[in-house]
């Protein structure tokens, strides 16, 4: 029904042609990368572990897995170029109604900011489109349909987002305590539940399963009806799911603090309690699939792909890794890191990218730069990310072929990262950078998208044995993990929540200044956190690699950087308190009321 596009046909055709050309060029680059990787990287890895590869079967297996990956990717590229996926630029516009392209939507800004945003959009659109659509009339049926879609997911989104923010605040306080303990080890040592090993673990589980997962689910559930242009079916399942999920995280954190743990990193919550989380997640998948069945779109936007895949992947990952008394010894370590890496790669990353692909396009009123590229990104992410986890055990007592597979796939991650990066950054760069000034959503989401590129390239780098030798076991890894989960994922969630909540509650953010405060506190805080901890980690690694220096030197050299990390973490936590205060001020309708209602669709001030 939405195949018609609200742009003059002539202009559209021009775009089609140029985008097609650009896309072809991208595909060419990717193909070349593959060949390069095949020619240089694999032999290097083989050489490195050359003496370890004892027989032909292992080498053959590795070569085979690489070959399958490359073939798979080529297959998808071929399918794309043959048009088998029918994912032309018109597919990218599926998220817009007729006449909506070129019209900004930013519920988080004031009407004045929105006007400025629209002017920027108009200027950059003029140069591209030659004309501008006028937006939806305030009483159009499309607009009413969208209001109905937004209404249908309110309770589910509200339940998940409210919980996530509570977990964020408690989780960051726990993180702050843990950080402080690394520089003052006699701080709060009287009770077992406050010891570093427990409070740190409580922090991790609260921010992963409480904050990140619940925020991701809340945003996904809210986006679904809009992406599928129908109302959310089975919302009650998701609300009950939120209850189960919260109960699971809360019980899990109490268990960890009390000393009941399964003991594997990222999997500490005892499996008996983990069942609650699994049930909660399964309940969230119900509305996803029920709504999919009722979809009224003839194309599934790329965000839907990511959300659907994530909701399929996570339960399987969790189940395989959590099943008790099956895994053992080194094999358990392998499963452990297969899981821990995939929680980020196949659960949070898809949810984060789904949000970025929707909100960047929707705020700007512009389809993403190259839609086909986004699909290449999706499949290559699925293929490479899922096999990269064992790079956490480089140099450990694990089969060499396994490490090699993960190293190869880690480096191959450059493909999906470039696909996503080119796409999201080009959408912004084409004349719309100043839009960041006026849209809080965009400011957070774009920062998150930039850091996604950064963290993934950094991750590919860390998997290379020569660099891994230096930074493995150090705080550099902690900084890297935070770049992924905070810089990339949390930033995108912050932005998404700023967009979504005015629609959920049908009112505006009461104190726009606080959004600015939140942004700068967490950005500056995180910059301090990341830069200092990374430098400290490298120095720690250098000290550890030098056998003439006693181990204690690697501890001492780190101290000032850990102090800086605590300070950065303090700013971030302060930002979270500002965010939470603002959120609940909005929920409880604290003064001052602004225009009262966040306008949907085109701002009334479009005035074209």
């Amino acid at each position: 029904m939405s195949r018609t596009i609200g742009v003059p046909i002539g202009a559209m055709r021009g775009i089609n042609a140029s985008r097609q050309a650009v896309m072809q060029a991208h595909l060419g680059v990717i193909a070349q990368l593959q060949v390069l990787a095949g020619r240089y990287l694999v032999p290097t890895v083989f050489l490195y572990y050359g003496d370890a590869i004892v027989n032909v079967t292992i080498g053959a297996l590795l070569a085979l897995s690489f070959l399958v990956s490359v073939l798979g990717l080529f297959l998808f590229i071929w399918a794309l170029t043959q048009g088998l996926m029918r994912a032309g630029p018109d597919a990218a516009q599926i998220i817009f109604e007729k006449g909506e392209v070129g019209v900004v939507e930013e519920p988080a800004s004031s009407s004045k900011q929105r006007e400025a945003l629209q002017n920027i959009e108009r200027k950059s659109a003029d140069s591209v489109f030659g004309a501008l659509s006028t937006g939806l009339a305030a009483t159009s049926p499309e607009l009413e349909a969208r209001e109905a879609q937004d209404r249908s997911s309110r309770a589910a989104a509200f339940a998940f987002l409210t919980s996530s923010i509570l977990w964020l605040v408690i989780g960051s306080v726990a993180g702050l305590i843990a950080s402080q303990k690394l520089t003052s080890p006699d701080f709060l040592t009287q009770y077992a539940w406050l010891t570093f090993g427990r409070i740190r673990t409580a922090h991790l589980n609260m921010v992963i399963y409480g904050w990140a997962s619940m925020a991701g689910l809340g945003i996904a559930l809210w986006m679904l009806p809009r992406l599928l242009k129908t109302t959310l079916v089975g919302e009650r399942f998701a609300v009950v799911g939120a209850g189960f999920w919260n109960a699971g995280v809360a019980a899990g954190v109490v268990a960890i603090l009390a000393g009941w743990t399964d003991g594997m990193q990222w999997l500490e919550i005892p499996w008996q309690i983990g069942i609650l989380i699994a049930v909660g997640g399964a309940l969230c998948a119900v509305p996803l699939f029920l709504t999919l069945l009722r979809r009224k779109v003839d194309h599934l936007y790329v965000s839907v792909w990511y959300i659907a895949a994530a909701l399929l992947w996570f339960p399987i990952l969790y189940l395989v890794a959590k099943v008790p008394y099956v895994h053992f010894g080194v094999e358990q370590a392998i499963v452990n890191w297969w899981y821990a890496h995939n929680v980020l790669g196949l659960w949070l990353t898809p949810l984060g990218l789904a949000a970025a692909y929707y909100f960047i396009a929707k705020v700007l009123g512009q389809p993403i730069y190259s839609y086909s590229l986004s699909l290449v990104g999706f499949w290559s992410l699925a293929m490479f990310y899922s096999q990269a986890g064992i790079h956490h055990l480089i140099g450990g007592p694990v089969p060499a072929w396994l490490v090699s597979v993960s190293v190869v796939q880690s480096v191959m991650m450059i493909v999906p990262v470039l696909a996503v990066g080119i796409n999201q950054h080009m959408t912004i760069i084409s004349g719309r950078v100043s839009a960041l000034k006026y849209s809080p959503t965009l400011r957070f989401v774009v920062l998150g998208a930039v850091l996604y590129t950064l963290v993934s390239l950094q991750g590919a780098h860390e998997a290379l044995p020569f660099f891994n030798r230096l930074v493995h076991f150090t705080q550099y890894k902690v900084a890297h993990a935070h770049l992924g989960l905070y810089g990339f994922f949390s930033m995108i969630m912050f932005g998404s929540i700023y967009f979504v909540m005015p629609r959920v509650l049908d009112r505006e953010w009461p104190y726009p200044k606080l959004i600015t405060w939140h942004f700068w506190l967490v950005s500056i805080g995180f910059a301090i956190y990341f830069v200092f901890l990374s430098i400290g980690g490298v120095l720690q690694g250098i000290a550890m690699l030098d056998p003439t220096r006693p181990f204690m030197e690697s501890v001492n050299v780190l101290t000032p950087y850990l102090v800086a990390r605590t300070f950065g973490g303090l700013l971030m936590t302060a930002g979270h308190f500002v965010f939470a205060f603002h959120f609940f001020a909005m929920v409880f309708e604290r003064e001052p009321a602004r225009s009262g209602r966040a306008f949907i669709g085109g701002a009334p001030s479009v005035g074209a």
Partner: protein, 198 residues
């Protein structure tokens, strides 16, 4: 493209491939590892101590996997040879660890076999290891005015000793030390055909 089924099947194939390579194949390869002759199963006390090691989260700062010479000077630091999968057959959950805020402990029992040192170190790490950032674990100990005959009294430098009475190790502390001192994998590497890195 509008086929939900394509996404679902495609996504499942990708994950199945990863699970096959990263979970199923290693499982098959490693499931028949038999313990080296010199490696003894944990005693009950050591297992209780290991549980404490797990629930205190020692693994977040201490690895139990010395790296081979090609990956670092672990051997030169006296942390031991590079381990092989069969060294870990009795470990559940595994405690390989990926952080070295503190040193590797795979052979701590060989490096520091003294029960007294271990107890003092757990009560107050800085009393025997100046500059350490390891947390103190006072809750694993009791302060008593007059130790009973069976009590294990912890020896402490005067500035770390309590004003009155003595510090006595709880059973939990003794078990933990029993586990730590059991960590000794200094026997020669068992011949290994799993393809682990040398």
């Amino acid at each position: 493209m509008n086929r939900v089924l394509t996404i679902v099947i495609g996504a499942l194939i990708m994950l199945a491939m990863a699970t096959l390579v990263l979970v199923a194949l290693p499982y098959r390869q490693l499931k028949d590892e038999s313990p080296p002759e010199q490696l003894k199963p944990y005693t009950i006390a050591q297992l209780r101590g290991r549980a404490t090691y797990v629930n205190m989260g020692c693994v977040y700062c201490h690895s139990q996997q010395p790296r081979p010479a090609s990956m670092g000077p672990d051997g030169l630091r006296g942390w031991g040879r590079a381990p092989v999968p069969s060294d870990y057959v009795y470990d559940y959950p595994h405690l390989l660890g990926v952080s070295r805020t503190g040193p590797d402990l795979f052979n701590i029992g060989a490096r520091q076999p003294s029960v007294d040192w271990q107890l003092t170190h757990l009560y107050q790490p800085r009393s025997v290891s100046p500059g350490s950032v390891m947390p103190a674990y006072p809750f694993l100990f009791r302060v008593v005015a007059h130790p009973a005959s069976g009590d294990k009294v912890v020896t402490l430098p005067p500035q770390f000793a309590p004003k009155g009475g003595d510090i006595v190790a709880t059973q939990e502390a003794l078990d933990l030390v029993a586990y730590l001192t059991s960590l000794n994998h200094t026997y020669p590497a068992p011949t290994d055909d799993s393809g682990a890195m040398p």
